[in-house]
Amino acid sequence: MLLRFINVIMLALISYSSLAQVSIFEVSRGTISFHSDAPRELIFSTSKELRGAVNIQQKTFAFRVNIASFKGFNNDLQEEHFNESYLESTFFPDATFSGKIIEDIDLTKDGEYFLRAKGKLKIHGLEQERIIKAHVMIKDNRIVVRSDFIVPLSDHNIKVPRVVYDKLSPDIKVKIFATLLPKRVK
């Protein structure tokens, strides 16, 4: 009993000190998925390779995902088109979003927040200034981020041939779920 109590105290101290020191949190598990809801086809694809970090002191962030890591298309041809024709992942391998957190919120404190992340969203090599809303949960030295937003294809010069107009939505819905942990100090 006493041991457990000491343990708790120790853990609290450790976590407190680490919180005080570590201001950078890294994505430990992150998934990003998009879905296109067109009259004649529904496409849903997910990547588990969302990488990124958040600096809770400076309130800045950077996220990146490899385009080729998106899986789960309706067929292989679709995946091939996605990579080669639309997003040209050989030329533009990554999609990134980096910037700052707008709200005056102390992220070092546990809680549940609705934040706006503002920065440059770069897809298909084209940057767009975006404000993206996110739901953030901070608890026990762990940050859980959820967000969904829309990417209009026209914003990123992703050209869609006329024949697939009714198979591909001009506005792609994107969902993010990521768990961030303090960056391990080597």
């Binding site: 700052k100 707008i102 709200e103 005056d104 706006r116 503002k118 200034e129 404000i131």
Partner: protein, 950 residues
């Protein structure tokens, strides 16, 4: 639970319930291709400048003109200062546009190329650039000073900046607002974020509340707020939860009103009340509204993703009505001065709730067609029918037929009106004046009958209008206007200066003037005890007027067949509303006086989709068009503006001008005058005028523009230019020529004088020479020697003596022959010299020798002063020893230019004294004749004389 559901449903549907205002979309190009508009400004001339993703355009109300721009970059910000448009681009560059020419503006000291979100020129001439990631730049004379997070700015992403009092600047960023002030060259920045009470950290828009030190703040998520600069606090205005999306722009109208544009396509009208904001929402279906602009005629211009949209809501709105509303059947309209509008369609009476247009309530079905509705002072409704008399509808919703007055029981009622506790009813047989007892309003009593017999112009009165002084004005059929002031009648018909027989309606404007609308004679107003007429040339669309109504701010709404004309008393012009406005107004009611006014002064006119609401115009609106001289051409070749001086042959000038108007751009009328050529005004609808073959002079071209043929207070633009007189007609040229001629004459005179004096001098010299010469030839020595020689020759050889005598006489004859000549040929001189030498040689023999070396050509071509050589030879003989032991050898050589006479110097011990005039005389003669010098002297023991050959 059910209630809750209803509430939830209402909440959800509220934003979508927003009405689309009267608006008109403009495409920037003829093809109708959407162009994203990012910036809108109004310049000093009145043009709207449109900054788009596809370059810069300007708009005069009719056409868009694109300015050539080599930058080919999306324009993100515009501002205007002193006829210069400042342009900010997405790639961070800045340009200026002067006289429709874009020039890049170089900025030194800037590092970075982030998008310019806002550009702003302050009163001191400082250019402020709000950038996306570099903070704010303050640019003076092409040099930039940056203000960014390093200097204390809360964030480098700046959306907007605004000048504050006392050398300060307000800047909206991603992290709140910054108050940047400069004290003694030290920058001080105060930051206000959500921690200090700001509703949202992302401040996209900052605008000044007119006439205050308060500022509108538009945010990304939390709507709008007002920041008070004095207290540095956000004012606690209450408003409903923000549900219209990101605020993109705010356009303040006055202290209490502003328009707000949002990213989700809402246009919001904000009314500031004591502690809350009243928000009226309008939907612009699917358009992102990026920027707002309010022009001087009261339009709100919205920059959208497709082009620009003009919103008329500030002066004109509408109540959309669905069935049972029918424009063809509507007969009467009335406002109860509360929240309901009432209208009658054939036999039916309906009520519209102004707070909820969808609610049309049926009140009552009459036994005959309802012709008129009138609310008395107690808000009780009087209903007139065609054939079934007068009806009464009270606040308790009880309908009664008035049967106590026999004339009215089955009467044909044209109009009902009244004041105080009186009701006036116009029937086919004159006007009945009734008094309504307060105790029993449904039992009015007849107190007076007004008819042709009693003094009204006609028994048939279309409209009864009580003015503010309780005088009852009557619009009669066939007898103009009549008025009853309680005691007697006044009448105005064709015999007393009122030109129209048939008058349909009468109204009084906010200033107290009475107006009358007529059949086929237009509009009249009564001032200074006279009726003044407005007709087609005064701007009316049609002279057959079915209804008129004055509002509370001075305008008169005139309904006619072709549309609606609204009289603006400040501008003395009509604003027109018709199908050409492209706002879906195609037809209006033809019923007479089917018009209503509420207590606020809004005027209601039915049209095919419901009821148009003409609002009071409390914010000044100037509908008078502007005019701008837009181009100059010389012989049809465009030339740069700003040229004012032309040379004599440049006398074919074309001036282009452009009327700018956003109320009725299709109705512009121009007139121009070219002062200095013809002072009279010339009316035209053309937008350019050519003056061929203008005589030299100074001209002042003036052009005015108006919406009608009335140019009172019209805006004017002028251009003064001068065509120079031809060279030969200019005073300075004539003076110079006269002077030149004078100088020329003077010189010619002087030259002649000099020549004359030279000739006379020459003659004098020659005479002296002759005299001297003759003197020398009749010199006793010469004569004595010659005669001695002759004497000895006679003895020795008679032949020779004769020859000698002949030579001597020849010599004298030649001397006499040449004495008048200025020049003789060299050959003649040599002949003479030979004769002289013969005489001398006869005396000296071989002791005197002459060696001549002159080519034949020179002898025949060159000239010399007569007797010059003879004189030189004579001098040589005279001054030198001539003897057999030392003979005197005289050499004469000549080249192209000179003749040289020389001999060895062997001076006599006892020289014959000569006058010494010989050489001097020759020199003078040469000088006078040819300005040539002779030279002589001793050189290397030789006496040399060089004479020029001529």
């Amino acid at each position: 639970m059910k209630k809750l559901l209803v509430v939830i449903l209402l909440c959800i549907t509220l934003p979508s319930w927003a009405q689309k205002p009267f608006s008109r979309d403009y495409w920037l190009n003829d093809a109708g291709v959407p162009i994203k508009v990012n910036a809108l400004i109004l310049d000093e001339s009145g043009y709207i400048w449109v900054g788009t993703a596809d370059g810069l355009y300007y708009f005069n109300g009719r056409t868009f003109n694109k300015i050539a721009d080599t930058a080919r970059q999306p324009i993100t910000a515009l501002t205007c200062s002193e006829n210069c448009i400042w342009i900010g681009y997405a790639n961070g560059n800045v340009s200026t546009c002067i006289n429709n020419t874009i020039m890049p503006y170089e900025i030194f000291g800037r590092h970075g190329h982030s998008t310019i979100n806002n550009i702003y020129k302050d009163k001191l001439g400082i250019l402020w650039l709000c950038t996306e990631s570099e903070g704010i730049y303050c640019v003076v004379n092409n040099a930039a000073i940056v203000c960014n997070t390093n200097k204390g700015l809360s964030d480098n992403f700046i959306y907007a900046a605004l000048e504050l009092p006392y050398n300060s600047l307000l800047a909206g960023s991603d992290k709140g607002i910054n108050i940047i002030s400069l004290y003694h060259h030290k920058v001080n920045i105060d930051v206000i974020t959500t921690l200090q009470g700001l509703p949202d950290n992302i401040v996209k828009v900052l605008k000044k509340v007119p006439d205050t030190t308060q500022y509108w703040i538009g945010t990304q998520q939390q709507g709008i707020a007002i920041f008070d600069y004095e207290s540095k606090k956000i004012l606690p205005y209450k408003y409903p939860k923000w549900k219209w999306g990101q605020v993109n722009d705010i356009e303040p109208v006055d202290k209490e009103h502003a328009w707000v544009a949002t990213d989700e396509g809402y246009l919001l009208k904000i009314d500031l009340q004591s502690d809350s904001m009243k928000i009226t929402q309008y939907s612009m279906a699917g358009d992102k509204i990026k920027k707002l602009l309010r022009d001087k005629v009261g339009n709100i211009w919205c920059a959208t993703n497709r082009g620009i949209t003009m919103v008329m809501e500030e002066y004109m709105g509408y109540i959309p009505l669905k069935r049972p509303f029918s424009l063809q059947e509507i007969n009467a309209l009335a406002s109860d001065n509360d929240r309901y509008l009432w209208f009658a369609q054939s036999k039916e009476l309906y009520q519209i709730d102004l707070a909820n247009f969808n609610d049309i309530k049926h009140i009552f079905t009459a036994e005959a067609t309802i012709t008129s509705l009138h609310f008395d002072n107690h808000k009780q409704l009087w209903i007139g029918t065609l054939g079934k008399g007068l009806w009464y509808y009270d606040r308790l919703h009880v309908i009664r037929h008035i049967t106590t007055i026999t004339n009215l029981t089955q009467g044909q009622i044209l109009d009902i009106s009244g004041y105080r506790n009186e009701i006036w009813v116009s029937t086919l047989n004159g006007v009945e004046e009734l008094v309504v007892p307060e105790s029993n309003p449904s039992d009015p009593r007849l107190i007076n009958h007004h008819s042709k017999h009693s003094g009204v112009g006609s028994d048939y009165v279309y409209h009864l209008y009580p003015d503010k002084d309780d005088h009852m004005w009557m619009a009669t059929d066939g007898a103009g206007v009549s008025m009853y002031d309680g005691r007697e009648y006044s009448r105005w018909d064709s015999s007393s200066g009122f030109k129209s027989q048939v008058v349909y309606s009468i109204t009084q404007d906010a200033y107290g003037t009475i107006w009358a609308g007529t059949l086929n004679n237009g509009l009249f107003h009564y001032s200074n005890e006279k009726w003044h007429q407005y007709e087609l040339q005064d701007g009316l669309q049609d002279v057959n007027i079915s209804a008129i109504m004055g509002n509370k701010s001075g305008q008169i709404i005139v309904v006619n067949k072709k549309g609606i004309d609204e009289w603006y008393p400040d501008c003395m012009q009509f604003r027109h509303f018709n199908r050409r406005l492209d706002i879906n107004i195609d037809s209006l009611s033809v019923q007479l006086n089917c018009i209503a006014k509420d207590v606020e002064g809004n005027v209601f006119v039915p049209y095919e989709h419901g009821i148009i609401v003409f609002k009071n115009i409390f914010q000044k609106q100037d509908i008078m068009p502007d005019v701008h001289i837009s181009g100059l051409s010389l012989f049809f070749q465009p030339i740069e503006q700003g040229l004012h001086d032309f040379s004599y042959p440049e006398n074919h000038i074309t001036i282009k001008y452009d009327g700018i108007n956003y109320s009725n751009p299709e109705r512009l009328h121009y007139r121009y005058a070219l002062n200095g050529f013809n002072d009279s005004w010339i009316l035209t609808n053309d937008e350019s005028v050519t003056f061929p073959k203008l005589p030299p002079g100074t001209y002042s071209f003036r052009v005015q523009v108006s919406l009608s043929n009335n140019f009172f207070n019209a805006k004017e633009s002028s251009y003064t230019f001068t065509i120079a007189a031809p060279l030969w007609k200019r005073t300075w040229f004539i003076a110079a020529m006269l002077l030149l001629i004078g100088i020329l004459i003077y010189y010619i005179q002087k030259l002649r004088d000099r020549r004359v004096s030279k000739v006379s001098l020459l003659q004098k010299e020659r005479m002296i020479f002759e005299y001297e010469h003759l003197k020398s030839q009749v010199n006793p020595h010469f004569l004595f020697n010659s005669l001695n020689t002759l004497a000895s020759l006679i003895e020795e050889n008679t032949e020779t003596a004769i020859d000698y005598t002949v030579h001597l006489s020849d010599l004298y004859r030649n001397m006499l022959a040449y004495k008048d000549k200025d020049l003789i040929l060299l050959v003649e001189e040599m002949e003479l010299l030979q004769k002289y030498l013969y005489i001398q040689q006869s005396r000296f023999g071989s002791a005197l020798q002459l060696k001549v070396n002159i080519s034949e050509k020179l002898l025949m071509n060159k000239k010399i002063v007569p007797l010059a050589l003879q004189l030189l030879v004579e001098n040589a003989i005279k001054h030198n020893v001539v003897s057999i032991s030392s003979p005197l050898i005289i050499y004469i050589d000549a080249n192209e230019y000179t003749i040289v006479v020389r001999n060895w110097l062997q001076p006599k011990m006892n020289t014959e004294r000569g006058a010494g005039l010989g050489l001097i005389n020759i020199r003078k003669r040469y000088f006078l004749l040819a300005k040539r010098q002779i030279s002589y002297g001793v050189y290397d023991n030789e006496y040399i004389v060089i004479l020029p050959l001529i």
